[in-house]
């Protein structure tokens, strides 16, 4: 089932005096429960695509449709940024509860507590409920950020280079976490990454954008069964292929 259909998305930016086309024509489809990785050369507009989907930016032309074929409502998305973006003055608990407490959601207090506890255990952070973010490691912070985004039960979770600032060990842990969450909750993931290994390890599909003004250059299905082993020749080959597409723009 399709959760997201992008058709001919374009975007111009005015940079000081110069006006330039960032996205020229982005079209793609994302299915329910998929993990889709978005790649492309630096500055090609990957973040811009996510920002348009999350409602932080608007597109100049093109349509975005949701599962029912109507115009897609950014309310159904949540975003995880590269730098966690946690509110430093709120405890882990309050950070996770943040979205639930917004008026639009109309969730009673009791239910919020229950939900936050479920999420804390989902990301293995139960003991840290009352800790302030600055007391956590980078990986833990990003777990909290993921939990906070998941709290509002998005149809699709947008992640902009979510693990690139982490050490390799935390990164692998969190990658497995993403797969596990998808398997337990059935959440759809749309992940921007500049790391081909990560894309190949995580993605059910990899979408590669061309250089600016960008459009979709290539889509690659990754059908290898999980857990995947990047040391297998097939995987190594795939990584090389993806790298080729990204670097040749």
């Amino acid at each position: 089932m399709q959760v997201l259909v992008l058709k001919g998305i374009s975007k111009r930016f005015c940079d000081d005096q110069a006006e330039f086309q960032a996205l020229s024509d982005i079209s793609c489809v994302i299915h329910k429960g998929e993990i889709v990785c978005l790649m492309g050369p630096s500055g090609c507009g990957k973040s811009t695509v996510l920002r348009i989907l999350s409602g932080l930016e608007s597109s100049d032309s093109g349509t975005i449709c949701g599962s029912d074929g109507d115009v897609f409502d950014p309310v159904h998305t949540a975003m995880v940024f590269q730098e966690h973006g946690l509110f430093p003055w709120l405890s882990v608990y309050d950070n996770i509860a943040y979205g639930l407490r917004m008026k639009v959601r109309k969730i009673p207090q009791k239910q919020i507590a229950q939900k936050v506890h479920d999420l804390l255990s989902l990301v293995h952070m139960e003991e840290f409920a009352n800790v302030l973010p600055h007391q956590l490691s980078g990986g833990m912070k990003q777990r909290v950020a993921v939990a906070r985004a998941l709290a509002i039960e998005p149809e699709i979770l947008l992640m902009d280079e979510p693990f690139s600032a982490l050490d390799p060990f935390s990164r692998h842990e969190l990658q497995d976490e993403v797969i596990r969450i998808r398997d337990t909750l059935g959440t759809t993931f749309f992940i921007v990454t500049h790391n081909p290994e990560e894309a190949v390890y995580l993605g059910d599909r990899i979408i590669i954008l061309s250089k600016r003004p960008s459009s979709v250059r290539k889509e690659i299905e990754v059908s290898s069964p999980r857990p995947r082993d990047l040391a297998e020749p097939e995987m190594i080959h795939l990584v090389r292929e993806v790298t080729g597409y990204v670097s040749s723009g």
């Binding site: 730098e83 973006g85 430093p88 979205g99 917004m102 600055h134």
Partner: protein, 256 residues
Amino acid sequence: MKRVLPILKGFAIPVFIIVIWQSLSMYIQNSFILPGWETIIPVLIHPAEPLFGGASLFQNSLISLQRVLYGFLLAVFIAVPLGLLCGWSKSAEDYVNPIIQILRPVPPIAWMPLAIAWFKIGFGSLLFIIFIGSFFPVFISTIEGMRSIRIRWLEVAQTLGATTLEKFKTVVIPGALPSIWTGLRLAFGVAWMCLVAAEMLPGTSAGLGYLIMFAYNLGQIQVIVAGMIVIGVIGIVSDSIFRIGQTRLFGWQGKE
């Protein structure tokens, strides 16, 4: 011991000064130049005794503190919302900024002659002076606080469904608060100094500044020194309250 040592270090110089002071005062033998501590300490250890037939040291301090708090809170209640407004809206800042920048360098005491004409001698004019003194630090650090808010936090709030009002309540205010708090701390110090200076001017009948001026007119230097000590102590106590508040409330600051 590790905790006590810095405190002991802090006491070293004051004790040294007092010893030097006392020996010089015994040598000079002129209570108008260096009153001995044997005359200063009795004033300090009898804070509830009326001085010069008027209010006691304690009452004078209380009156000064009360005045400073009223003026300070008035300034806070006006400067913080105005600062939030100017930090939020560029247009509001364009309107307000020039006049603020012009008025800011004027020493609050310079307003006193006008303040007496506008707000009457006594409480009204003092309140105005304290207000002027504490308004600018609060206002400017509120704007500063608004500038220090990460756009990312606002974006996160928006993607999580916050309305403008909710963003204001849950991101802008807590995000700007550490800087506002610093402003409050600065402002209280300025307000305290302004008040004491303003109380030295005519038209007051109590307060530490008044006490000092009265003692000056009567040549009672030991009361002046006692008053200065009380002013300093109240200053340091209020400042440490703000500092403790800062570490307790905003421990996250600078560590995100």
